[in-house]
Symmetry: C3
Subunit: 426 residues, 3 copies
């Protein structure tokens, strides 16, 4: 191929990564709005703070150590303990205007930091999954410390096994854009954390029945869902990682199409099931159904029959809807439905690749189980150490007043009279 | 041309469609936020639910039947009643890694499902137009059924006449990105629906005068407008449909430029006119002016003189502003101003192509009238059948309490004390 | 190079500009949401109106005269007083389907109006900076007139000196995407305006101490910050201005990476400093830290070591956090922290290019000072003339009731009971 064509390939590959990473970065806003809308207003400002700080922290931790642990000279289990990533020698020459060995430069396919950026925004997504589940009662700093451990060590380890070309990848485990690697991993950490920290006080009444804790801002939660849907096209589409051949772009096209259709399936199945189970359309279940559909297709969005994508997404919507009362039964208070949407649907999506494509179901199952065991165990250790040292849970008076007041000293909506304000003042 | 250049063309064409479709998908969030902000808070959660479900439903219906009715072997009137679209044989070979007849693959210009995705998000836009006009009193399920009819049959028919290369297109009718095909079509369906379902109770007082029903959340409505403006660049820009020549990209550039400038014109003219008519700046008229400007330019955003684009958009802003009191006079209660912005300005924009370019004004008028008659008639039949079977309007108690409570069992902002709450409690 | 490769280069360059301009356009929504969330609810609708009108007005003014003053035949000081920009002759031929001198067409590198659009959205950004600082007490129309002067004359002059290739550029002044040209320029205009119009009544008590005026909607402000972060990738990334070589795309990649990392640094440093200074995490300082980090890196996002980007952004976060109490001490009431984030951090970022790269610190300083003096002086003249003619400040009763009611006749959230409502009613 002529060098000029190779240059264009390099340009397109790099541009794809930047474009897609930008969309995935934007998903941070989606998680923030979704969670802000779903929690009660007394906990909203903390959610905002947590989401922007966790995005920043996840980027910093991953750049500090995580990326190299995940990708640098991975054998079977983990990469290299090494700080930061810098442009390689040819890239530095290029940027400084010096003469470049073009063949060598182009051999990597795309600019190194474009791929680091794309991977970096993925870890921020994983971290976002955790924040919602533990909302309204976890100590802010305890949460941040967990996120650091997660982004530096837990996620990169799982990533090394798979995208880093470690043992799971070598076995043939398939997880295109991370139903397991990103979503289930975040989900397992959220599950253990939510269990350990316990339900919000008042979530269950004396008889153990669930007391409704209505979402404080439905349009904000809806906006968050739309942002996630939008950004997810880059999340899955960018995971093609290159745009230099008709095969690449065809894969990207089918990925976009399937991703959208799976979310459609998740919406419609959650809508139908919510009618069936509750004789009422539950808007929050429908929003969660969209996310579950997106999570479900993420392991295999390159499947060539879109009907399968629709089915996979629909089943994701069904499973996440069914998982919510199950969690509640076990007294696990997952405030935003992160575990049903990301963990349950992530497991389903990963197994679905073993059902609907030539990938081995057994190997998919091995991947799901091994990632699950590792993340659950390592998260449990981290959560427990944090609990025994800093403590995990805010005081009950802080929980009653809301973390916004007690941890940040502000209110999210200070001027709007709240129903509780009225009661307190009367 | 060398095969490698043809491959790059194919890549760029497909990427353009995916990029643009992503922006158009995002417009669904824009409609949702705009409408959520414009309705009263007791109807906001239903608007959120409706917008995400209608996006999903529109995609599903269009994929099920609509696309083939619009594009597959259209003679003069309509395409083929056939289910779903799948990648073609060469594309399937490519995706499966088999040997491909590259010449044949490349002959379509872009990957088939990329274009299906782009068309699919357009039908979702059309459907969104309808939801706002009938807000706060139409039965949710009746609305969804209408949307299904609209997306499976009404819109694809109009689309077949035009973009499907049917009789109107063969006559020389020009509608670049759909002032008529998308916006007026949605607007006619909204107009008849809003008339049939009748105004919200309390919209007119005993003397027939309009009672103000203030928008419940102005920043949300503003956000929605900005989202639409942003996404519209992809809506019009992507309608170039290819990016493989300097002509394509030049067209795309002028389209982006004109689209933005027409919205600018719409904002400024609505601002000026609102001052003139009401001696006051009306922020909601200004927001609607932006949308009207965008709708107006959509039929001919490829005009080579941007001043014309500014003028076309400005007149769109004027007409939509003037149309609002006219509708009110006829007791048509269009809650979000969809008819002024999409129908009135859409008609204007389509005719403007006959004024400012070489296109025939007469043929543009034939297009506007024939699409109008068809959509109005078919929508009327659908709305009437729904009215006589399921009913169209919620009970007056449901309307009084708000559909959020009665149809979904939740409130959009459950914690904020509402002015009515106070009255009820005193 | 073959003509086909040149065509592809032209396509990619133009597409980059359109893509990036779209992201920058979206920043208008970011400023609008940020400011809407930060002001009190009685001033929110005016902020919404101001932000959409200023975007439209900035585009119109810049297209009318500003672009030519900034770029057309600039000698040392300013370009040409000439109306509008149109496609050039070859481009018009191309659009009309006539024969084109391809060599001549391609010689400009990209389609003319794509670059005009990209520059146009930049001036809208600058204008947005000003609106927040003077919020809640500046007369709407006085503000709009200032914006027109700023977009037609003040910003284009500074732009001509630099990006228009005038005297500062010829000296070697470096400002990649506008820490000084865009952000400080807006900041200086905001600073003088905020000082001249005086603090909001009630901002200082009788003893001169600051009275807290809490942000009315924290999630909206957070959303605005995320939108700005997202759009900023296009703001800085698009400033590469072309995408036709591996050097271009490598620069773009490092720019994306550094831009994100600088914002990360700004978040983390503002978080740390807010803890240190106030023994409490201040969510609004953290949001402002993100913006300050972004502003700081904007002068030199193409630095090849990302650690420097992190440091530059972090120092931006520190400086903006420190600047807030300084402004308050001088009784300058900058409602949204625009001066700390855009002016202070913009100066720092511009100087940082003289510290961390080979650029001359002295010349950077000359740029900062000369732009500062010019903008400050010309803004002062404009603000003062407006003050002496139309007046700058709304009446104290209008300020007390809120501009939403007095200037627009609506409320941003009419249904939510406000704390003041309760007091007034009791």
């Amino acid at each position: 191929m002529s060098i000029q064509i190779l240059e264009i390939n390099y340009i397109l590959n790099t541009f794809l990564l930047l474009f897609s990473a930008t969309l995935v970065m934007w998903m941070a806003a989606g998680f923030c709005m979704l969670e802000s809308g779903l929690v009660r207003s007394k906990s909203t400002a903390v959610i905002c703070l947590k989401n922007i700080v966790l995005y920043a922290g996840a980027c910093a931790c991953y750049y500090l150590l995580g990326y190299n642990l995940m990708f640098k000279d991975v054998g079977l289990w983990i990469g290299t303990l090494d700080f930061f990533v810098f442009p390689n020698i040819e890239e530095l020459k290029l940027l400084s205007g010096a003469n470049v060995n073009l063949q060598k430069l182009l051999s990597t396919g795309s600019f190194s930091l474009a791929i680091v950026f794309f991977q970096m925004v993925f870890v921020a997504t994983t971290a976002s999954i955790i924040s919602g589940a533990l909302a309204e009662r976890v100590k802010m700093w305890s949460f941040f410390i967990f996120i650091a451990v997660f982004c530096i060590f837990i996620y990169p380890t799982v990533g090394a096994w798979t995208w880093g070309n470690g043992w799971l990848s070598q076995m043939g485990f398939k997880d295109f854009a991370g139903s397991t690697i990103v979503h289930s991993a975040g989900g397992w950490a959220a599950l253990f954390g939510a269990w350990l920290v316990g339900p919000r006080s008042g979530k269950y009444n004396k008889n153990g029945k669930v007391v409704s804790t209505p979402a404080s801002n439905v349009p904000l939660a809806t906006l968050g869902t739309f942002i996630l849907w939008f950004g997810w096209l880059g999340f899955n589409g960018g995971s093609v990682l290159s745009l230099s051949s008709v095969f690449d772009v065809a894969t990207m096209a089918i990925v976009f199409f399937n991703t959208n259709l799976a979310a459609v399936g998740g919406v419609l199945s959650a809508l139908g099931l919510s009618l069936l189970l509750y004789k009422q359309v539950k808007v929050l279940l429908v929003l969660n159904g969209a996310i579950a559909g997106l999570v479900a297709i993420t392991a295999g969005p390159d499947i060539s029959n879109p009907i399968f994508a629709f089915i996979i997404g629909s089943i994701g919507g069904v499973l996440s809807t069914l998982a919510i009362p199950v969690l509640e039964k076990f007294k696990i208070d997952d405030v935003v439905g992160a575990v049903p949407a990301h963990l349950v649907s992530g497991i389903w999506g990963t197994l679905a690749v073993g059902i609907f494509t030539e990938a081995s179901f057994k190997i998919q199952l091995i991947g799901v189980v091994s990632v699950g065991l590792f993340v659950l165990t390592s998260s449990a250790i981290a959560w427990l150490i944090i609990k025994w040292t800093l403590g995990l849970r805010v005081s009950s008076s802080s929980e009653f007043l809301g973390q916004d007041i007690t941890e940040l000293g502000i209110e999210a909506y200070p001027e709007f009279l709240n129903i509780d304000d009225l009661h307190n003042k009367q």
